[in-house]
């Protein structure tokens, strides 16, 4: 390969060592999802039985997509491209390639805008454990609790309240109104950008080479602690005992495929960019498999054996079955209170989550940095500054609209959707544009061992079909509720009805009605639909004249309270719309920038490489 600088791609940075690239890519994949999402998914989808669709998905979807992405990335690197639009355009000189490139820029950058917040939460929790603030909080809350059940209730209540208050989930703007969290976010932001500014080898690789082993070491120490707890067999049984009947449920298979897809961080540009820093004969097969297996090690062995078994042991079945946030930021701190040396293990646990989050967020920044440098000739300082500004604006938006994690939740939804679209597009490009056979031939270049012979068939038909199935099923399941939450009028009606329903419930509280009877009473008074409009003229006097608590000790009439809640709900729905519009506008902007770059600087550098006769023959 030419060592002469090529116009538009003067930088030709490479990974310093093979273990460095494995740890960097594994670091990009290992995150909160491994330690918190995986055990939650497994325990809610058949326990040990979940592992069957999970492992099949890993073999049929995860590994092949990862191999695809590594191959495309290394191929793009041979054209001097380290940015997603350039890599895609070098291989396929059509507009859809630029769009795929723009998606591969959009998804990581937008995810970073809220991921930085999660990163800061982890750091803040680690600081709280290390400085003994949680001990103090728990001592206060359990002072009057007598039995164990009361203690559990008090501790979980305290951690829930702490999470909602400290992480801004109670009110919009609370995180930006001063306080410690904003400084923790700024510090996390700074850590990321200092590392990314140092470059691929000196920054990302150097950091991951010590952060990943440290992270795994901390997790192993905590794992040993959990496995040596008395009665741990019960906790492990709760996590791993299989419920075979669940295998007949299609949702379980979808959940397993989704977990593999989101966990490996494949298909949307992170690996693409990292792989472009490989040399043309560097082994992508073994390197990719190593990164994926490291991710699985963290997920199955460490993630599957720590949180849920310990949560079951200390808090019971209800405490061990939660979403990622509940499990991570409410359940785990509560577990640590009951666990011997919990303060130490709590600090260690959230410290390792912070490291995992940093290694992931670095990989989210690098694609945009590389695009600004390759596509527009910006120096590292300028590209870091531009990206820092853009992500700071996005993160500030997410931080401000933090009530109920509103902006975060909607951003996450659209990113996940675009992520699956990008992955599907990339695999289709590999199977049908490059050609599965030629692509696999390229994949095997320099490989320690060759990929299985059925891989072309798998990549041409099976994997794309699997991804399309995930896309359709995931959209079918999640899109309706998100689209509904973007409807201001409907949300306003739902919120207003909920206020009236609360009064009805209070009115009949003394009669101890069954849930169904209560629902019937409510439906008779307010309408059966959850978004039924309230007609004040038709309400009985006791309901129309009722008052409800309006905060700060004030009493409000039910109509006034309903109007307030409706206005808030309308506002939240509008914010959800702005999130969607903002992401679409950003995608259009990135596409335009990708188009300009591909027509000018990136296009020239690709032609230059081709003229030198070192291009991949299939592209000509």
């Amino acid at each position: 390969m030419s060592t002469q600088p090529v116009e538009g791609c003067q930088r030709k940075e490479n990974w310093g060592s093979r273990i460095g690239v494995v740890l960097a890519v594994a670091g990009s994949a290992v995150g909160l999802g491994n330690f918190l999402r995986f055990p939650g998914q497994a325990v809610n989808n058949g326990g040990g039985a979940f592992m069957i669709p999970y492992i099949l998905s890993f073999l049929l979807v995860g590994i092949p997509i990862a191999w695809c992405e590594w191959t495309i990335g290394r191929l793009g690197g041979r054209y001097g491209q380290n940015n997603a639009p350039g890599i895609m355009f070098a291989i396929w000189r059509r507009s859809p390639a630029k769009l795929l490139g723009a998606l591969a820029l959009l998804v990581p950058v937008v995810i970073y805008m809220y991921y930085i917040l999660l990163e800061a939460w982890c750091l803040d929790y680690a600081i709280h454990f290390a400085t003994g603030r949680f001990d103090h909080l728990f001592a206060e809350t359990t002072r009057n609790a007598s039995g164990h059940a009361d203690q559990i209730k008090a501790v979980v209540g305290a951690t829930r309240d702490f999470f909602h208050t400290n992480c801004g989930l109670k009110a919009h703007g609370s995180l930006l109104a001063g306080g410690r969290m904003i400084w923790v976010v700024l510090f996390s932001f700074l850590v990321n950008f200092v590392i990314i500014y140092r470059g691929v080898t000196k920054g990302i690789e150097s950091f991951c080479k010590w952060a990943m082993p440290l992270l795994i070491l901390c997790a192993i120490v905590i794992l040993v602690r959990v496995l040596t707890l008395p009665h741990i067999s019960a906790g492990l049984g709760f996590m791993w005992n299989p419920d075979w009947a669940r295998l007949r449920d299609a949702k379980v298979w979808l959940a397993a495929a989704g977990q593999i897809f989101f966990s490996l961080s494949v298909g949307f540009g992170l690996i693409l960019v990292y792989a472009s820093y490989l040399r043309e004969n560097d082994d992508v097969v073994l390197t990719s498999l190593s990164a994926s297996s490291t991710n699985e090690f963290c997920e199955v062995i460490l993630g599957g054996m720590i949180v849920v078994p310990a949560a079951f042991l200390f808090l019971g079945a209800a405490g061990a079955k939660g979403g990622t946030f509940d499990l991570g930021f409410i359940t785990v701190p509560a577990i640590m209170h009951f666990m011997p040396l919990g303060r130490l293990f709590g600090a260690m646990w959230f410290g390792l989550l912070f490291l995992a989050a940093v290694t992931s967020s670095l990989s989210m920044l690098q694609p945009a940095i590389a695009f600004l440098e390759d596509g527009f000739g910006l120096r590292r300082r300028a590209s870091v500054a531009v990206l820092g500004l853009v992500t700071a604006i996005g993160a500030a938006f997410t931080m401000y609209f933090s009530k109920g994690a509103l902006a975060l939740d909607h951003t996450d939804f659209w990113c996940n959707l675009f992520m699956i679209v990008a992955a599907t597009g990339m695999v289709l490009m590999f199977g049908w544009v490059i050609g599965a056979e030629r692509g696999v031939e390229e994949m095997n270049r320099g490989a320690d061992f060759r990929v299985p012979r059925f891989m072309p068939v798998l990549l041409r038909y099976v994997t794309p079909a699997f991804l399309v199935a995930i896309l359709v099923a995931w959209t079918w399941q999640t899109a309706p509720s998100h689209l509904e939450r973007m409807n201001p009028d409907k949300q306003a009606r739902i919120a207003a009805r909920a206020v009236y329903a609360g009064v009805v419930k209070k009115h009949y509280a003394g009669r101890k009605l069954a849930k169904k009877e209560m629902e019937q009473k409510t439906a008779a008074l307010l309408g059966a639909e959850k978004d039924a409009a309230i007609d004040a003229a038709k309400l009985p006097a006791w309901l129309a004249d009722a008052t409800v608590a309006g905060g700060h000790g004030k009493e409000l009439s039910v109509a006034e309270a309903a109007a307030r809640r409706a206005a808030e709900a309308r506002s939240d729905a509008n914010i959800a719309r702005y999130v969607f519009l903002g992401i679409v506008a950003f995608l259009i902007l990135l596409y335009v920038l990708a188009d300009i770059a591909c027509r000018t600087r990136i296009g020239r550098s690709i032609r230059r490489v081709e003229d030198e006769g070192i291009a991949w023959e299939a592209a000509k």
């Binding site: 003067q10 490479n14 500014y197 009665h231 067999s233 709760f238 120096r379």
Partner: protein, 74 residues
């Protein structure tokens, strides 16, 4: 471990689901868990063994510190 902690653990084991005995790890659960761990561990060890045993490349395989990349401004 303190007496209180032991009591809490014992209580937790009984009180997690009142009235329902806490099931330990069943043979099927233990098998699935062991197989999953063994598979992942074997794959990880195999991959890292293959990477580590690879001889050092003939070419200069470290970051070319003497060739400063343009993007990093000093």
């Amino acid at each position: 471990m303190s007496v209180l902690t032991r009591q809490l653990l014992a209580l937790a084991a009984d009180a997690v689901e009142p009235g329902k005995p806490v099931a330990g790890l069943t043979p099927a659960g233990a098998t699935i868990m062991t197989l999953s761990i063994a598979l992942v561990l074997a794959m990880t060890i195999f991959c890292f063994w293959r990477i580590m045993r690879e001889p050092a490349p003939e070419t200069h395989h470290h970051a070319p510190l003497e060739i400063e990349t343009d993007d990093v401004e000093q």
